[in-house]
Symmetry: D3
Subunit: 238 residues, 6 copies
């Protein structure tokens, strides 16, 4: 029995509200239940030095969490003077996930920076970030298309992410915070709208897991990503 | 003529929405026109080492801006590895402003940390932060009162803030970004609900200003703070 | 009764000794009573990248305090690895105050850096710094004039600063350390030789202050700045 | 055809030389072909503050690379002033992998720190690090057992790691640097001696990968880990 | 021929002015010609954690240079965010030199921190610092003696320092900046009042030096230190 | 009697194994008894900005110690976020020592970076580093010569280093860790193959030392360096 009363293969209510940031070229507020992430996509028509002159663009991401997104206040990273290892891992993951579905040559010599800032954290902040990031990215690329900044259809596919885990012995989809803390195994899946894998990260929190357990998690993930892909399409066609 | 078409003594639409952060002891989303700040108040029933054993509590504040709160993307301070001088000035100002209306002895040995995170910036982020911070603080102290953590009525007054400036030769109230950039003089006023000054900061951006100009700005500020104090009361009694 | 026996409107003995740093283009040792600040002005005939090619120059300032300028030793900021928020606030104030009286176009593409290093601290280090900085700046600009580095009379006015406060209920001029610690309200005024305001910073340390109190502080400041302006002129004509 | 002439399912020559660091409680030099990592395990009979008094111990890891382990010199992280995101990801992975096979309660209130320093890098430094770390850890725990510092058999299983990838369309085992640079998909598997998963990290470097490709990589990994587990046993029984 | 017209074995004019810092337990302004260093000694009746409970005290030193002590402005270390390698070398040398003549047991559990801040730099800032530091230290220990903070005569000897070098082929005493830049060999000697060595640092700036050259430099140093020791005694008995 | 049973003028067994790092242009593993240092020389055919266009090259060095090179684990500098003062002193010394025997003009506009990483520390890590660095440097310059990157014979001499000290009243050569901890005086000598001094650093750890003691240490050093120079020649001619 899950704390939220959900079925093992039931995702939380997911909503994606577009164009929430007045100044960004793309943006959305994405919620996976009580987890809320504000995502913006910023287009810069120039590149950092090491990328210039290669005839391609770049997509990168940064991740942050407001100090009181969490149950007790978390120290602000700007005060601490550095990003934690966890933050860096997450923002590298978001960036890689997006680049896997973008044709960087067709972006032209432009950079898109995705900022994912967690307003409320209740588990799954990285998967919500990736899922929302795709929507903000799609809007930013559309904005570029209108201004003839791209050289063709740079977006090759869509991408979304979901977590799964073994909670009290059973495989469950889309862990919330209470489940995440207790789960023996925690896996994040990033997949395309066409059903291929972009990234798999499975971690045994306490006891190692078997191939059968992994297969069960993958099946849940495939279903969840399918649902998320539809929600993304719906949001983008609104 | 102001870019927004406002009268010289007309504030932007100000809204204060309480309890927007599920986990914080006090919170609000405050808007001064297109400037939007998410404010949380976090109660900790312990104090940093240097404050312990003095029979009093503490109120402190931190300030941040999401990278794309601004027209072009601003570098994330957590990535830069430090808070800018501007950020530090603002968060020190917010903290001082709040402590001026709190009886620290009556707080008990507890600390309240106010986080002001700017979601959208269109001028006046520090004054909106202070105005919202009072509301979040009041809710956090009420939360403490209910749990008998305070030793009496710790809140002595209310506090709000507004900016004024000389724009194209005329004194105007509550500068937005377009006005702020161009204003010859920019002043921030922090005042209590009972009409006293907590902080005045007046700066000649280009040409020094006269005593008459300063007096005109003060008159505008007194009016604006009066309006903000009413809005705070209304929000807190809702 | 003030600890020093001064009248409420009596400044401490102020001295300005020019050309104390052999190598700097301008320099002075300024004393406000026991507060002593060594000020140097350094001319560089180049600009940082972000200022180049705009047909103007720049004036900036840095502030520091020797570790034993204070009653008990203060940690050296170079050891701590960063400047404190207080230091940054002060050096930003000094820079703004000087830029308000300089025509940056007439400076040519040159930068003047003012260094204010406190040798002894007894209250009012920022006001002494600004007052001395003007003298060092004037000497540096004269040095540039002689070498045809400027494009005209870049110095538009003089500038000086003084603090005032409410000490034991009475408004007093030029707070020393003992008064500063105890004052309920503390205000710093930066004004030009022609009597206009460049910056006002008034802070309620404990209880908010009234408009009448503020007016009394302003009157004291105007008197004090008048005296400082004369001392600056005298020093520069010596 | 692989650059090294290896078969798709052929690992590089792997060697594990124990007790190479005179002072460490456990150590080895592990080579996966031309990749060489010096691993030490350091036992400390105390814990960092946040771990004390919980009746358990801790295993943690740090990772570094000598500047000229790589084809062109890499900047030393101690000079850069921080560890890169990549370094942090790797050392967090090593730590998690080891903790998955240790009973922290039985360790007593002791900490074991594993240092993995890459002397030569030719691909697979993180998998070689984990494989060698198990051997150094086992020796350190044996050292503790002899001194009655543990409370029972703290080592529950063995752990090893290997990378696999899709190189020129074919799944191959144990990527070297030339393959790693070119591979479309790169996956790292951490598994126990009893054949369970501790961690899976699969990343699409360019094109997303299919479930069939993932299954093929898993099969290779299972074989490779089997071989590594035997080598670990042999080394430890020598 | 030396740029200053001095004889090879002639020191610059050396002056030591005591009690220049109102608040420090010991202080002096030491000049070696145009090199001027402000030295303070601060007594703290407590020790850093790692020194506590060992029944002894500590003497440590910090060194800094005002940005415009040099011909062109040097970047402020507090702004750079760290002390340079040169600064650290010098302050470690000063600390070691002083500890060599202090009986740390007799100091009691107290710490003396020496701050050497260079107001003007014309070569020999580290040797002037050590020479002045002894005087400030002696005053601080006398201050402690009066307050019964020491457990006996903690000062075992005096200490002073001087530089020598091979300038245009000839050994010379007490290099100034012009000589220092050009000298082929540069050596710093720290010696006690009783003629023993505390530290020797000889460096070939371009060509290696012979034993004969080293002997000549030592002879000069012995003479110079003798003169400095007398000046220290005179200053302290004034 | 020395802890190792060595004669006062007896060095530890010294070995130099060349070409231990596959990718470096020069490298060796140097051992002074149980002290082992891995040295690499990296040739870059470009220079840092401040060195460009001066018609010369550069030789620089970095030094590090693996965390468990020492008896108890030392904190990794990359984790601490900075190099210690000791590390900086040592790497500056290594760089100076090598530059003293290189004709920088004949190097062409190329930079050689020497990395000295201590695998095991038992006293004398800086002297072993310098001694090995010469060998790696010689190989790197030979590599450059073959590729016509140099403009002539850039290596003017050889260089080696050894420590001496007063241990239990007697001058001894090549201190190991046990002797180093206890020695009253510790001196490091860097000398050329032709018997000239490059650097002398003598430090009184507790009691100041006399001229006679210094002379005795120098005699030991001259002998030791002679032996090291022969070993370097032998290694390079192998």
């Amino acid at each position: 029995m899950r704390p939220s009363g959900r079925e093992p293969n039931q995702m939380r209510a997911v909503t994606i509200e577009r164009n929430v940031a007045m100044k960004a070229e793309g943006s959305c507020l994405v919620s996976f239940g009580n987890t809320k992430v504000l995502v913006t996509a910023s287009v810069e028509t120039s590149l950092p030095g090491w990328l210039r002159g290669k005839g391609q663009g770049w997509v990168t991401a940064e991740y942050g969490m407001l100090p009181r997104a969490t149950g007790s206040r978390t120290r602000r990273e700007a005060t601490a003077g550095k990003q934690s290892g966890r933050t860096q891992e997450i923002q590298r993951l978001i960036g890689r996930s997006l680049r896997a579905i973008v044709d960087l040559q067709l972006l032209g010599e432009n950079q898109i920076t995705i900022d994912c800032d967690v307003l409320e954290a209740d588990g799954g902040t990285r998967t919500a970030s990736i899922t929302g990031a795709y929507v903000a990215l799609a809007d930013a690329i559309a904005w570029m298309d209108e201004r003839k900044l791209t050289k063709g259809k740079a977006l090759r596919d869509s991408v979304a992410a979901v977590s799964c885990g073994i909670y009290r012995g059973a495989p469950v989809l889309d862990l919330d915070y209470l489940e995440d803390v207790e789960a023996h195994t925690d896996a994040n899946f990033v997949m395309t709208g066409t059903g291929k894998f972009v990234e798999i990260q499975g971690t045994a929190e306490q006891a190692p897991f078997s191939r059968d357990e992994l297969d069960a998690l993958m099946a849940l993930a495939e279903q969840g990503i399918g649902e998320l892909s539809l929600l993304q399409q719906t949001a983008l066609s609104a």
